[in-house]
Structures are given as C-alpha cells and as structure tokens.
C-alpha cells in the first residue's frame, strides 16, 4: 500500500464532482502539477491528475501579516508560532473504477500512483497485455520518486482507429526534432509485426536538423536509464537514406551532410519534366491556373510529354518531349507557326496568350528549382515500391527554394498516397514528418496546393496507413483541421502568448504555467486513451542532433565541377582514377556530364566509370579541312574597275 499523500476535501464552494476533486497535503508532500494520484474509498477507486494547486495560511487579510510583524518583514520568521499552511490541490479525474455508476469522488485518502496505477489510470491496460499489445512508449511519468512508462496505443497513433501526431513547442528546447526522433525509434522498436510494416519519411526543412539520424550520440547514464526503464534499446536509425537535390551547379548536393565519411547513404533527388508536370499546379499560383491553362497543361501531360507527338503544321518530324529543353522547342515551334499565320492567335483551341503563360511558368520551374529539376530527361527518385520496413528516409530540402520545397512535399506525398492505395509502396504504414507546419498549412493565408494536400492527408491518411507527424512552434497558427485530426498531441515548452490563445482555454492556469517553463525533454501528452493531459519525460535520442552532426562531420565546401564529378564517381567506386575522370570531362559540356553522372549514380553499375564514360558522347577527332580542288579562280586585277571579279 502506497503512503498516504493527502486526503480529499470538499466544501459547498469546492465540491467533489465526477470529473474533479480537491485534496489537501502537507507543504512537504511530493506532489506537483501533473502528478497522478489515486483515491480509495469504500470499494471505489478514482485516479486523477493534478491540474491546479493553491497554498494559503489562516490570514484573513494581508494587512494582518503586516500588523503581526509590526511592519517589519524581517520579523516574520521570529514569530513564536508558525502559521499553518495548506496545500490544496485540484485534480481532474482520469478514471473511476467501477466506471458505472459515475459518482462524485469520495472523501478518501489520496496516494501517489504507482506503476500499476498509471497503467490503469491512463487506460493502458486496454491495449497492453501480458503477451504484448499495441503500446508505444512516449516517455516516463515521474512524481514523488516514482516513475512509470507511459505508452501510446499504436492503433491510435498509426491508424486505423485514429492517427497522426502533432508537436508544439518553442525551438531549441529538445521538443520537436528530439521528440520525433525518439518517437520514431520507439515505434520502430515496439510496433507489433502483426500490425504490418512501417517506415518513415522526414522532410528536413531547416539546417542540419535531421541529417545525422544514423549517427550514434553519447548518452548520459540518466538517459540510458530512461531508455531502459521504457523498455527500449538506445540506438540511431539503422536503415537510413538521405535524399537531397543538387545545388544549381548540378554536381554538389544541396545538403549539410556532405562530409565524405557520410555520403555512402546520401542520394541525389532529381526530377525531370515528366515528374513534375502532374504537379504543375503546385508551382503555378492560384491566379495562373485558370481553366484554359489547366486544359493546356493536361493536354501536354496526356498527349505530348513522353510521347511521339505529331503536329504536321508545326514540323514534319514528330516531337519527342522528354525534357524542359524539348518542351521549349515545342513551344517555339507553335509560336513560329502562329507568326506565319497572319492574324492567327489560336493553336488547336489554345490561345497564344495561354500558351505563353504556361511556357513562362513551366520554364521558371527549371530556373527556380535548379538542382531539383533537371533540364534533361534524367531523374533520381525515391525508392517507390521498395521502401523497407523500419527504414528512415530523410529528404533534405532545407537549402532549396520554397517553391521547390512545395513541389517536393506535393509530389512525395501524392506518390505515397498513390502507392498506398495500390498497396505497393513496400510498407504498410508510412510516417511523414513535416516540421514548420505553420508555414505549410497556416491557419490563414492563401489556399495552396500543399495546404490542401496536408489537410487531405490528415483527414483521410489513416485509412491508407499514411501518417502525418507534424511540428510547429505555434499550434494556433496552423490550420485547425490539420491539428485537430492529430489523434495524439505533444506539447513542449510553450510561449506565453501562444498559451493565451483560445485553443488552450481548456488547460488550467497551473498547467499553462508549467507548459511555459517546461524543462528540456519534458512533454505534455494528449492521446485518445488519456482523458486528461499527462506530463512525461523522454530520454535524449540516441542519434546526433543536427548541431552535433555538423560539429563532428563538418560539411565540405562546394567542389569545382570536375572534382565534384570525381567525388560522386568515387562514392560508387573509390578506385576511379582522377586523371581518367579529368580526361573524360575535358571539353565536355557540363550539361552532358551532369546527365551522364545522374544516370550513373542512379543505375549504380558494376563499373561506374566505364558506364559514365559510355554515356558521354563519342569524341570525334578534328580533321583539318583541305582546300577544295577545282578550277583556279580568275586572276584579279584591282586596277580594272570593269573586271567581273
């Protein structure tokens, strides 16, 4: 039997109800906001979580204290009798046993909850069984020297009952990235195989945050103890791949994970015309996409791109549009044709103004997203259809243009959805982590494609196994329907202004005060099984943070074109000779080299250099042009003004 902490007290003004009760303790009692307590009385057990606290003495008025101390605050401690002080706690009911009939909390003794109590109070007994269950550790509940693992129900975290996780908290206090990193590890280790396979795709949107998830961090003994208490094995991501677009030079990857020791599992992310045409709406602003432009884009996608398109009025030979360059050639042919038709401004029902607009916008994509979008037909994409169970894929878009970021989000999530609908993604559940949600799904602002897509994901993703883990500093600034669909919410330290928003009105002032000063590694958890928010501590993730990663593996400076090509080839085959590469590149146009390099890195052939060299166009020796033989020219007489030559 646990030690008695306090006792329920009820008055007419502060009565016990079925959802709330009050209890008093001594000032020294190890109780605090967020503590889970248990009340036993006459065969009824009530579990509650402390949501508010008060302390007061028997003073009728503050003035009495002044008078009693003769106006001298330093004399207060000299009083022969210490005033009695009460600690009066308010607790919200988590669970009552028996559950029916639901009655006001009885006036029983109050004890701190034990491990077993926490399981029952948070209804974890519903999904945790002796032979396993669907529990996923989220952290340790700790109070009064006791600590107990708190688990989330994976059926409510990854679907199908509910899904999605949203994290709020100010930056830099181990809230968002650390919590997600820990949660991914926890899910990968505990998600029941019978429930299917699971993988994660994380969008790295700022700095090196998620670039070193596969690199082990040094943990303190306290952190290790927490890992073990949660029944987890600390470790970095084991099956990790990072995708990053190239920089505009087309050979240096646009990521801070560029240290030579870590490039083995870094892949380029390159898309061509075919890959992005379906998502043209993402990069065209709302005003651009009228019905006419839409019709033209559909026409291009269905009839032109990737096919042999015959338009006799434009030219005799059919068009083969595979790249932006091909597309531009196609558009130029249309304009040339229209110029020859005096007064004509329509080509096959498409007005020339519409054609010009679509040409400009699509042409801009290749410019603004240079490095992600190639001007040729080569592409290096995610492993659609072959995602592995418990694998982590990071897509580093931190350094790219916001337009390109939108494009990446839209295409990746749309493709994930398509594959999951067909059940051919390679895994049954995919977790998509999106940071800075207030940027991509803001509460106000224009209705963008990305915003609609995130909303669709949050509302319908769970049926497919498409799970959104999202994070933001200010939850109130995120579209409510997106956060509202998150079955589980985590809150780290919050800004006071944010806590003043109406969305937090359900929290008591004490809970808000605790949230505003939450230490590193502590979270408030809301989960469908928990009737009240619960505070937990989670251990430091066992992988390097972004800051640690760049300190231990400093990014290398951008290499000159030839050196970068050589390094990329050496990543595939370290024995590639520098001189041979330089000789192969000598005099080659960079676009041609990029195309060959992209195809090589994508195919990963046995002999990368030979493959690469074979893709370069054959060198044709320059032959000196000899003067033609024939009739000798007539002699030229400059003095004869009538001479014919």
């Amino acid at each position: 039997m646990a030690e008695i902490l306090g006792r329920v007290v009820a008055t007419e003004l502060k009565p016990s109800t079925p959802h709330q009760f009050h209890f008093w303790t001594t000032p020294a009692a190890p109780c605090g906001i967020g503590a889970i307590v248990r009340v036993d009385h006459d065969g009824r057990t009530v579990f509650g979580v402390v949501t508010d606290a008060m302390a007061y003495a028997d003073l009728a008025r503050p003035l009495d204290a002044v008078i009693g101390a003769d106006g001298d605050p330093s004399r207060v401690g000299d009083e022969p009798t210490e005033r009695p002080e009460i600690r009066l706690w308010t607790a919200a009911v988590l669970r009552q046993l028996p559950e029916e009939p639901m009655q006001p909390v009885p006036f029983g003794a109050v004890m701190l909850a034990t491990d077993a109590d926490v399981r029952i109070a948070l209804r974890m007994d519903a999904f945790m069984h002796a032979n396993g269950g669907t529990g996923v550790p989220v952290g340790l509940y700790a109070a009064g020297g006791l600590s107990a693992p708190v688990l989330l129900d994976s059926d409510f975290l990854l679907g199908p009952e509910a899904a999605h996780l949203n994290i709020s908290g100010v930056s830099g206090l181990a809230t968002k990235t650390s919590a997600v990193t820990f949660m991914l590890r926890s899910i990968f280790e505990t998600f029941a195989p019978a429930k299917g396979t699971v993988a994660a795709i994380c969008f790295n949107v700022k700095g090196p945050d998620l670039c070193f998830l596969d690199q082990a961090a040094t943990l303190s003994s306290d952190d290790l103890a927490m890992w073990h208490r949660l029944g987890l094995h600390p470790g970095p991501a084991t099956d990790f791949t990072l995708y990053a677009p190239y920089k505009p030079d087309g050979v240096n990857l646009n990521t801070l994970r560029s240290h030579p020791a870590l490039t083995a599992n870094v892949r380029p992310l390159i898309w061509g015309l075919r890959e992005i045409l379906d998502f043209a709406e993402v990069v065209l602003n709302r005003d651009d996409v009228d019905a006419k432009a839409d019709a033209l884009i559909d026409f291009l996608a269905e009839r032109v791109v990737g096919k042999k398109y015959q338009a006799a009025e434009l030219r005799d030979a059919p068009f083969t549009v595979e790249s932006f360059a091909d597309l531009d050639e196609f558009f130029r042919a249309i304009f040339d044709f229209l110029e020859t038709q005096r007064g004509a401004d329509v080509w096959r029902t498409h007005h020339v103004a519409t054609i010009r607009k679509v040409r400009n916008r699509l042409g801009n994509i290749a410019t603004r997203s240079k490095g992600l979008v190639t001007d040729d037909a080569t592409a290096s994409d995610l492993p659609w259809g072959t995602f592995r169970d418990r694998s982590t894929t990071v897509i580093d878009v931190a350094g790219v243009d916001p337009l390109a970021q939108d494009l990446v989000f839209a295409r990746v999530i749309s493709r994930l959805r398509e594959h999951l609908e067909r059940r051919d993604l390679g895994v049954d559940h995919i977790i998509v982590f999106v940071d800075e949600l207030n940027k991509y799904a803001p509460a106000d602002g224009p209705d963008t494609y990305v915003k609609r897509m995130l909303l669709d994901l949050s509302e319908r993703g769970r049926y497919l196994g498409l799970v959104l883990f999202s994070a933001q500093q200010f939850r109130s600034q995120v579209m409510r329907r997106v956060t509202g669909n998150a079955g589980t919410s985590l809150y780290g330290r919050m800004d006071s202004d944010e806590l003043a928003m109406p969305g937090y009105a359900v929290l008591s002032p004490a809970i808000k005060a605790k949230l505003a000063s939450l230490p590193k590694g502590e979270l408030m958890v809301r989960h469908p099984h928990f009737t009240q928010p619960v505070f937990v501590r989670f251990p430091r993730p066992a992988s390097l943070s972004g800051r640690e990663g760049v300190e231990r593996f400093p990014p290398v400076a951008d290499l000159p074109f030839a050196d970068a090509v050589m390094q990329r080839l050496r990543e595939l085959d370290p024995s590639v000779a520098a001189e041979a590469v330089r000789a192969a590149l000598d005099g080659r146009p960079e676009a041609e080299v990029r195309r060959a390099l992209s195809a090589t890195t994508q195919r990963r052939p046995e002999d990368p250099f030979a493959f690469f060299r074979a893709l370069l166009r054959r060198t044709i020796a320059v032959l000196p042009v000899e003067p033609r033989r024939g009739i000798a020219p007539l002699s030229h007489d400059d003095s004869d003004p009538f001479a014919p030559y």
């Binding site: 009495d64 022969p80 009798t81 009695p84």
Partner: protein, 306 residues
C-alpha cells in the same frame, strides 16, 4: 452532532414532544455581568511597568481552550431539552508548530429528569444531565441548561489540563481565561491564564483610569482579584497592542498566575513572553487580545465539527 441532534429530535417527537431550535443558543458564550470587583494590590501603588522587549518562550508551550455547541432539541411539554457538544484540547507548540497533545469531548443532553426519561434510551455516547432547580420555567431552564454546559466544559478543560500535565511535567500551559476553575491550576507554577473579558473590572475611579490607560508593552502592578478568593491568585493587566485610536480595552488582557512570590519575581519575564505572542495575529475579531496559540486551539476544536 447533527446526527445525534437528529436522533434526539426524533426521540422527542416519538415521546410526544415538540421539536424546536434556537440558533442563538449555539453561539452564545459565557456572559459576565459588567461590574466592579475591587482587587487587592500586592505591590501598591497601581502603576504602569515597562516589561521590556518581547521574548519568545524558551521551550515548548501548551495552549488550552474549550468549546461548547449548544442546541435546543425541543420541548417535552413545556420543559426544554438542550443538547450540547463540549470539547477541550491542549495544543502543544514544538519548533514553532502547534500540534494536538490532548483532545477531549463530551456530548450531553440537559433537561429536567422527566423530560430526559421521556426521551427513553439516549444515542450512544450521549450523557444525560438533569436540571434539578425548583419552579420549572421554560426560559429559566434554558439558562440553567446553559450554565450546566458551561460547567461541563470547565470540568473538561480541567481534565484536559490534568492529562497534559501528567505527560508534561515542566512545560508552560497557557489557558484561555482565568485559572480559578480548580485549585490545581492555582498551585501549578507552570500555568498562566489569559483573560480577554473585562466585564468584571478590578478597579474603579482613578485607579481604573490608570488601569485602562496602560501603554503597549507595559503591565500593571500585581493585584489579587476579589473574585478569586477560593483559589488565591495573582493577576496583572498587560497591553499587547497599542490602543490609540481604538477602544480602551483594545489589546488589553489580564494575566492570572499562582499567588506565589515566584510569580511576583517573574511577572516581567512572563509578560515579555506573552508580548511575543502578539505575532502572528489571530484570524479573529478578538485578534487584539486572542493569543494565536489559543486561537489555534479554538479553531482546531471547531474544525472537529458538532
């Protein structure tokens, strides 16, 4: 007590009586008639004596008080039946914290014997006390009943003090009110009484003017109260708080102690200790005279319910 009172009223009704209530009884305390009882000065003339700076008691101190809650149950015929809960407690202060040392309670029914008999068996723990005065009169019987409850409480306080003394040989015991209730107190060198009521004044005329003009932090000369002849006691007035701008009695208490030379010798020191008790201030309308320790006992007893 609510349950007991309910049970008593039920019995009364079954006995053919009339249930009734008189709220005022419950809150009435003892009432002393305003009068003069000239005292005998021990160290004449009557004067103001500065006692020195407040000084905390050197050791643990006990505080004794008693409470009574009186209810009119009803009438058997014309005879009133009164129920009372009487409590007494000593709270001992150790390391600046007060905790219960002794707690006693008595539940009584006071009425004429016939009325008690009409009630039949009383609820468990309730003792009958019969009014045996002549000439039954409903209102006078009520006064008798209240007096008997007063005496019951006084006896319970004595019993509580005795129990405390049995365990605490040389610890100061501060009693709320006078200490004439028993010769035991008058002979106990570790007992002090603090009287808040000034209905009975020990001086008249010019001496009274001196008596009531006592400045803060001063005591009067020691005198022997006239009303304490059975148990001879020494007494002196002590001003705890400045009365300027207040009533003449503001902050004025009368201390009672055993009538010994030792008391005379240490009257200043005891006054210094009592002056130290002005802080913390009691959360009570009588805070100017009510020592916090006594207030704590009273609150403790009230918190035990009826």
């Amino acid at each position: 007590m609510t349950t007991t009172l309910h049970a008593l009223r039920r019995r009364l009704t079954l006995a053919g009586g009339h249930a009734a209530s008189l709220t005022a009884i419950a809150v009435d305390g003892r009432r002393d008639e305003a009068t003069y009882r000239p005292a005998t000065l021990i160290d004449a003339p009557l004067r103001h004596i500065a006692v020195g700076a407040p000084l905390a008691w050197p050791g643990d101190v006990g505080f004794l008080d008693g409470t009574q809650h009186v209810d009119l149950v009803g009438y058997v015929g014309t005879q009133p039946v009164v129920s009372a809960v009487v409590r007494a407690a000593v709270r001992l202060r150790i390391d600046r914290r007060l905790r219960s040392a002794i707690t006693m309670v008595r539940r009584v029914v006071v009425a004429r014997a016939e009325a008690i008999a009409a009630l039949g068996a009383l609820p468990d723990g309730v003792e009958p006390i019969a009014i045996d005065e002549d000439d039954p009169h409903p209102l006078r019987d009520l006064q008798h009943a209240r007096g008997m409850v007063d005496r019951t409480r006084s006896r319970l306080e004595v019993a509580a003090a005795r129990a405390f003394r049995a365990r605490n040989r040389e610890r100061w015991l501060i009693i709320d009110g006078g200490i004439s209730a028993t010769p035991e107190w008058g002979a106990d060198p570790w007992v002090l009484g603090v009287v808040k009521s000034h209905a009975m004044l020990p001086f008249a005329g010019e001496e009274l003017a001196i008596y009531l003009a006592l400045p803060r932090g001063h005591r009067t000369s020691i005198f022997m109260p006239a009303s304490r002849r059975v148990t001879p006691l020494y007494s002196w007035a002590l001003r705890l708080h400045d009365f300027t701008g207040h009533d003449l009695f503001h902050g004025l208490v009368r201390i009672e102690a055993p009538a010994t030379d030792e008391t005379i010798a240490r009257a200043d020191r005891l006054s210094q200790h009592l002056l130290a008790e002005v802080a913390p201030l009691s959360n009570d309308a009588r805070a100017d005279r009510l020592l916090y320790g006594i207030h704590d006992v009273e609150r403790y007893l009230n918190a035990l319910g009826r």
